[in-house]
């Protein structure tokens, strides 16, 4: 499989395609009422069954060549992330260096898909990536590393729409290839589905770039605050209807993040959307995936739910920070035949 490391080519739907599809599906204008009718008509989720299915997928045992393949694939799908209040340009440059050269001891090691930073540091990341930045790399005929910026008053989303859109516009202007927005969970939980929908559409508009290389939109549902699987399922559909290129589980800033059942549930939504419309939407679990084992379980879940074609950066990402080093340790073990140690992988 050719790995498409570019966030900029993530999905090819025009900004309005999802919304157009929504109008058709809703059979009427987008309002709280039509959205409610649609979202609440979606079959419910039985929590026990969903969790059992996820647990079943988690028993898949990938050994030898399959494991090696999976470990490389995990790296290629990582959004290497730093989202701390204490982030500095230096910290971002260090992260970018790690993204470009995850394992200095092994030149065969693939690169991650993207680095994910706060919007005000997007320019730093673009600069640090230099020729490895996805748009430049593509121009040179290679894949590259995208810059993803969280925006819309991440992580809480508690700001006016104008402020959120300005946040997005800033990041896009600074060269972000991907925008990770948060939905307004308060609006969702109080049933103001239209507001959530319109906000996603507005952000999608704000992702447009004069050169046509629009930033691609990942919509963070913050499932830990939606709490129930039914809510997560409805929010997933809502985001997809509104034109999300990706649906993403979490900010990583609340207690419950990307559990395997949640990722499975979101994969079922994009699989069903594809059956319905032929369009492919990506999924990004983020937060809490720290070990190779967890990451491989996610890959298995993708392949056995949405299909193997989803296992590429344009359709699946893992938002993580410490995961990368665990994968590198596993790769080193596979290469050398003995267990490696923390001092043999670099801290970013």
């Amino acid at each position: 499989m050719t790995v498409d490391g570019s966030g900029a080519r993530v999905a090819r739907r025009a900004g309005s395609a999802g919304a157009g599809g929504a109008l058709e599906l809703l059979d009427g204008p987008v309002t709280d009422t039509t959205l409610r009718r649609y979202l609440e008509g979606i079959p419910g989720v039985d929590a026990v069954g969903l969790e059992q299915r996820a647990a079943g997928l988690a028993t898949r045992s990938l050994k030898t060549s399959s494991k090696a393949m999976a470990l490389d694939r995990v790296i290629e799908l990582i959004d290497l992330t730093t989202l701390e209040g204490a982030d500095t340009p230096g910290r971002v440059r260090s992260l970018v260096a790690k993204a470009i050269t995850p394992d200095p001891s092994d030149p065969t090691c693939p690169r991650v898909a993207a680095v994910c930073v706060y919007g005000d540091l997007a320019a730093v990341a673009v600069d640090a990536l230099g020729p490895f930045h996805a748009p430049r790399a593509r121009a040179a005929g290679t894949s590259g590393i995208a810059v993803a910026a969280v925006a819309t008053a991440f992580p809480s989303g508690r700001a006016s729409l104008a402020v959120k859109l300005a946040d997005v516009a800033d990041a896009v202007a600074a060269g972000a290839d991907e925008i990770d927005m948060v939905i307004d969970r308060g609006a969702f939980l109080s049933g103001r589905y239209e507001q959530v929908f319109e906000e996603i559409r507005a952000v999608k508009e704000a992702c447009r770039r004069p050169d046509g290389e629009d930033a691609h939109l990942k919509v963070i549902l913050e499932v830990g605050e939606l709490v129930t699987y039914d809510n997560a399922r409805r929010a997933s559909w809502l985001a997809v209807l509104a034109g999300a290129d990706f649906i993403k589980t979490s900010t990583g800033k609340v207690a419950s993040n990307a559990t395997l059942p949640m990722t499975l549930l979101m994969l079922e939504v994009v699989r069903d959307w594809h059956r319905l419309t032929g369009e492919q939407v990506g999924v990004k679990p983020a937060g809490g995936i720290r070990t190779s084992k967890d990451a491989i379980r996610n890959l298995v879940t993708v392949a056995e739910t949405a299909g193997e074609e989803w296992l590429r950066p344009s359709l699946f990402r893992i938002g993580a920070s410490s995961l990368l080093n665990d994968v590198l340790l596993q790769r080193q073990k596979a290469r050398t035949g003995h267990y490696s140690g923390a001092d043999y992988v670099t801290i970013d």
Binding site: A47, V227, Y229
Partner: protein
């Protein structure tokens, strides 16, 4: 001048009606001293078939009635019997040859048995059923449900067998919601028929109890082999070839109770209620999310 008595015609009780045997046959009932008492209908295999059809059609309603309602209906039988004690005493004296005092004791016992079993209707499920603490996120509940159509070969001998024995075999099956086809005492069927008349005027829905008189040896094999009978109580079949009946019953895996003898058989027990129940266990997922 003494008044000329009006003798009663004793018929079968099927589906709430009192038909003669479709075969047109009757047989002579004699008293303990060999004196003629009455002609009783001699049920045929087709009467047995009709009785099973009636029991099957009554099953849905009776088993779906609330336990509270079944309890009241069974208690009502006791109330009505109380008012007709004299008739039952008279029949017991004539057909079983009991003294009036002993006959009175038999009817008292029969009435009390109805009361005892009536009280079980809304309790047996609590005693026999239970919630199960399974190792997982499931609501899991076991409840006893009626087996279905139960054939009963009623007790054929022993003091009071024709009434108390009959009641003690029939009532426990009814408690959980089964319907019954019962073959009465061959030698002393009068009490069973009179009880049927009580049932017909009580609140027991038609078809819930069906009473056949005649030859158990002739009828029982048809019931034991009938595919639409779910269980057979051979309590009074000790003098028959009951082993063959049990073998016949195996064809459709009927639940079988073997013959019992001795005075007072069968004893009133919870085990008799549970013998014709099926434990159903329902699992349901429990998820907060």
């Amino acid at each position: 001048m003494t008044r000329l008595a009006v003798p009663k015609t004793y018929k079968l009780y099927i589906g709430g009606k009192f038909p003669r045997s479709e075969s047109g046959r009757t047989y002579e009932i004699t008293g303990a001293g060999g004196d003629f008492l009455a002609n009783a209908a001699q049920a045929s295999r087709k009467d047995a078939r009709d009785a099973v059809v009636a029991a099957r059609s009554a099953l849905k309603g009776w088993s779906a009635a609330t336990a509270y309602n079944r309890g009241q209906v069974l208690y009502r039988i006791a109330e009505l019997l109380e008012g007709r004690r004299a008739q039952f005493v008279d029949e017991l004296v004539r057909s079983e040859g009991l003294t009036e005092r002993r006959a009175a004791a038999v009817i008292d016992t029969a009435i009390d048995r109805w009361v005892w079993f009536a009280g079980w209707a809304d309790k047996f499920a609590q005693v026999l059923g239970n919630g199960n603490p399974v190792a997982g996120p499931y609501f899991n509940l076991s409840v006893p449900e009626p087996t279905g159509v139960v054939a009963v070969i009623a007790p054929q001998a022993g003091e009071g067998h024709s009434l108390t024995g009959f009641v003690s075999a029939v009532a426990p099956a009814l408690v959980s919601g089964n319907t019954v086809v019962v073959v009465a005492s061959r030698s002393a069927p009068l009490s069973a028929i009179s009880l049927s008349e009580v049932l017909a005027t009580s609140d027991v829905p038609p078809g819930v109890v069906n009473v056949l008189t005649g030859s158990p040896a002739e009828i029982a094999p048809w019931l034991a082999s009938h595919a639409d009978v779910n269980a057979i109580d051979l309590v009074g079949a000790g003098a028959l070839d009951w082993v063959q009946l049990q073998i016949d019953a195996a064809e459709t895996l009927k639940r079988v109770l073997q013959p019992e003898d001795g005075p007072g058989a069968p004893a009133p027990t919870l085990a008799r209620i549970s013998a014709f129940t099926e434990t159903k266990t329902v699992w349901h997922t429990k998820g907060l999310l």
